[in-house]
Symmetry: C2
Subunit: 199 residues, 2 copies
Amino acid sequence: MSAAAHRRAVELAHACRLINHGPTVLVSALHDGRRNVMAAAWSMPVEFTPPRVAVVIDKSTYTRELVLASGCFALSIPCRAQADLVTTVGRTSGRDIAAPDDKFARHEIEAFDGPALGLPLVVGCVAWMECRLIPERHTEAAYDTFFAEVVSAQADVRVFAAGRWSFDAGNTPLHTLHHLGGGSYGVIGDVVQGSVLRP
Amino acid sequence: MSAAAHRRAVELAHACRLINHGPTVLVSALHDGRRNVMAAAWSMPVEFTPPRVAVVIDKSTYTRELVLASGCFALSIPCRAQADLVTTVGRTSGRDIAAPDDKFARHEIEAFDGPALGLPLVVGCVAWMECRLIPERHTEAAYDTFFAEVVSAQADVRVFAAGRWSFDAGNTPLHTLHHLGGGSYGVIGDVVQGSVLRP
């Protein structure tokens, strides 16, 4: 079965649910034929409708150059099976790789084109978003924080459907990663339901 | 054993590790004798040194009034055992409670005073930070996003020590919550270690 078989579009109204629970993400970008991908533990939604996110992209990164030049980036949400891939793209720089080679080719990371912007999305992840930068020079400079609007969203239907994550014992390799530091990731295990306590 | 027995100061250089993995947090604030606490799924570090964070605090919240008036807020990081408490403070407003009563009293939520700013920190959580607002009128208005510097950090030594989370089978009630939507939380289960793949 092809890698695409489980991918489904996610309604934009549900897009922010994809990172609501704080997973580590892969940030990818493409400009003028050059592409790159990095890991980012620091991202969050800031608005459900329109779907907007914030992500921290350090000044030292090659991805930041591509994002600023192109005005867009993509987020791919990796899963348990990809801990080595996430650590690898988090610890190496695409700037060190001579064209036409890049991080994808170097580390045999398969990508497919995003439906809205054609950005490289990482195969094997469990959700994907393409985002258009909302330029905010001050917060980019002061906090490395980039705001963006989500313009496409997709997820692996085996673990996200009808606007909801469904993490269970039957799909553990697809559970999301949450970076604890040093290449160590907490993985979502059980799901618990909270109730409103009456006074 | 008192609730304080397991609390230890965390070096400020390690403070951002407390929310690096994207847990849902409780945001509390205090101004002029009035205090409140709310749940926030949307927060992230933006800098390790000095330790700085960003958190989304909606315009409708009473907490936001107190944060803007006092110039500070606290984050308490709740655990599996507190899913009902988190859902409760996330779905009710302190504005609806007549003084001198408040959400803490109404829902029997125990608090202790933060060491730096005296902010109310929630007993039973597994980590705590006090933060001083860095005023950013534009991002507060446009994205409900508040930037702040962490001025004190503490954690429960049973699950965070020497700058690291240690989630394991022996401390599952203390594992952090990651909001999936609708009062449903993914809980950190296993921890996996990633390796850098050689090309």
